[in-house]
Symmetry: C2
Subunit: 444 residues, 2 copies
């Protein structure tokens, strides 16, 4: 499987004069970022985009590690038959028009031809693959429309191209990184199980996020999940009967009974995300945060209302409110002005300074009654400066410190700096607490 | 009450040499945006920020409509006693240090002195007020840190300064407008009930959003809500026992039993938001969308996975899936290529063009089986252009059309244009559907 992500030579079948065509987009993307040998295939032209173009695979006369196919469905089998000529056993088939539109027969035939030659395929009917580390970018969406995320520890397996593309773009714009991205569409021969197994062993992958619509072998899938010692977070499309029906016409996936899925996920130690946003909120948390020793959360804030909303969320999510030790409480009350409330939430109030946060964090980090610190930072108050990021960063290796920041552009800037320092941030306290709950459940 | 928002003359008590001080911030903000007469008060200086500064209110020698107080708590009563000298009965008291820190007595005394003179106060312990229409900006957070939203139909009553400030900044950066903003803190004499009554009649207010921690007279509050013929959406801080305790030390609010609150909200026709994000998601929806005739939602998408997630959400939120009429289904199947799925979701697939959306929307708008259209637009696919905003805008007055767009900066641009045309957008389909549910519940 690593041939997909570590290929040293790639051929793209279906490079066209029209640069908006799928094959052309992928070819040009690779031309820009891929360091290995690249071949374009089109029987009707000699050169395109400044490169020699080959009539067919056989005319390359040299082995190829990976072939990307972007031609109409009826021609795909011909390409498969040609693969042995370049000693290639790994292929990404972007092409749609198989079982998802009722062409079961064509897809079955394709699968047979591939199995016969021991060829492994990502696809059909998929968006492609992306690896931020190796620079392999075989995604058919132009990078000016869909920005690519930088390096990170989350790998994303996605059965829907649209969801995959949107998520890539979103992650990139938020400044979150990714390791590997796999859009696998109809799962003609390689399945979510294969990708999972591979990513379970991949050193660049810390957390696996998945969007799936159906599973071919649920039992085996759960077994693999149980064996993988990394957080696996799944969003399942087609949870309802109506969604299930739509999934069937989308990727040809028979989605199965939702209750069965949810129960099995739980048993297999899979973290279930109930929305696309949560999928990556949980993923970021499990990628970046150090593990807590327990479930006792201390809220530190300079915005009273945010403190209250945070505490409400902690209770409603079945986490425990930390109870700071008597000695530390006493000491902090001595240091802080009278208006500061040393409790949970610890309200440093509207005239809080960076220094006041520094003291609060120092005490919270050394307090044995506290497992996790949730800072609901109100960056709008006048005495908090951008130096707050240095204050918070100082303590990031001592305990899990999660920051919730609600606000517009000035706040967003602070969030991005904190994130770049490896601190997990959220835009609302309710989201932070939901993700903390998953962190605690996974870690304890 | 309108004197607060339509004042023609304002005095700020507590303008200081230090421009970072609360009084100075408000004075300078008003200096910039307020068209009426402005007076600064400080007994120790003659001029500040290029303006004559008065020793006290009495030395103004002219009536003043509104006084803003930003001096230490122990001096506030002196200012109240001086108010008759400028014939003023309306005061915004920013000052903290009353019952929220145990100074019940001082606050009670202040209340008595105000009641005696029939003086109405916003505050104490509050952020101030803001009116995007009149330009009155008596909020103590500097506008370079907290951007102010432009004109809009939502008014926001907020018992927490921090939450209020963060929300203002967030709304501004998203490009959402606001009508009036009231941060009322301890509610010393004017209470949420008074603000509600006023906004219920205010012509610029289409929707009322509230963050409250406690109510002095729950029964009366619910009565007023029942009488107001505008959507009222509430987020309640201190819903849990621990949150309740924190609320007590925050604004001195005794928060009461959460079950009682939630039950009463429902009976009074109040829309309950369970997070800060939902509060404004629901608010925007009820402000902008036309009313649906029923609960039958049609999903139109060019991203299969998004269509499935949308349909799942519709079912899980107890909305109905629209079933497009046989004739329209037949007609669309004739027009569209074979890959397009004319169902619910209607999947215009990855090679969808703006024109394909145009046709789909035309048919959905005229179809009697459809009450609401949810577009989950995948702006990442190559053939959708920025002209899609014109296509969607064409139909906005025919039926409620809600758009969900997931993605980074390119998608965000499209979202902002759609929003500026009055179309309600969301970043995830799950959020869109949650808000649609509130729209349907309120409208039908």
């Amino acid at each position: 499987m690593k041939e997909f992500f570590e290929a040293k030579s790639i051929a793209v079948v279906g490079v066209s004069r029209d640069k908006r065509k799928v094959g052309s987009i992928i070819f040009n993307q690779l031309l820009k970022n891929f360091k290995g040998k690249l071949y374009g295939i089109n029987p009707n032209v000699n050169t395109l985009y400044g490169c020699k173009i080959y009539k067919n695979l056989s005319s390359i006369n040299s082995p190829v590690d990976l072939v990307v196919v972007a031609i109409p469905s009826k021609f795909v089998i011909d390409v498969i038959k040609e693969l042995p000529s370049v000693k290639c056993k790994h292929v990404v088939i972007i092409t749609a028009g198989f079982k998802e539109i009722g062409n079961e027969e064509l897809e079955l035939k394709l699968k047979k031809e591939m199995d016969k030659r021991d060829i492994k395929a990502v696809g059909v009917n998929c968006l492609g693959i992306y690896d931020s580390f190796s620079g392999i970018d075989a995604i058919f969406l132009p990078s000016d429309r869909v920005h690519r995320p930088g390096k990170g520890g989350i790998s994303f397996i996605c059965q829907s191209g649209a969801v995959g593309g949107a998520v890539l773009d979103l992650l990139a714009s938020k400044g979150y990184g990714i390791s590997k991205f796999i859009s696998y569409g109809n799962a003609t021969n390689l399945d979510s199980i294969d990708y999972l197994e591979y990513l379970g062993k991949d050193k660049n992958t810390k957390v696996i996020c998945m969007y799936i619509e159906g599973l071919s072998d649920g039992k085996k899938f759960m077994e693999i999940c149980r064996e993988i010692d990394k957080p696996i977070i799944i969003l399942k499309g087609g949870l309802t009967k109506a969604g299930n029906k739509a999934a069937l016409s989308h990727t040809g996936a028979l989605a199965g009974d939702p209750r069965v899925y949810l129960g099995a996920f739980k048993q297999a130690g899979i973290i279930y995300a109930d929305s696309l946003e949560n999928l990556f909120d949980y993923g970021r948390m499990l990628e970046k945060s150090i593990k807590p020793k327990g479930n006792k959360v201390q809220v530190v804030t300079n915005g009273g209302g945010f403190g209250i909303l945070s505490v409400d969320s902690i209770v409603l999510n079945n986490l425990a409110l930390a109870d700071i030790s008597k000695e530390n409480k006493k000491a902090l009350k001595k240091i802080f002005p009278k208006l500061v409330i040393v409790d949970n939430p610890m309200d440093l109030v509207g005239d809080a300074t960076d220094e006041r946060y520094d003291i609060a964090l120092e005490y919270c980090c050394k307090d044995k009654n506290i497992d996790i610190i949730l800072i609901t930072l109100d960056y709008q108050t006048p005495l908090i400066t951008s130096n707050i990021v240095n204050v918070i960063s100082k303590y990031k290796n001592e305990k899990p410190i999660i920051v919730s920041l609600t606000g517009g552009e000035p706040t967003e800037k602070i969030r991005k700096i904190l994130e770049s320092r490896g601190i997990v941030c959220f835009d609302y306290p309710e989201k932070a607490v939901r993700a903390i709950k998953k962190l605690v459940d996974y870690s304890t």
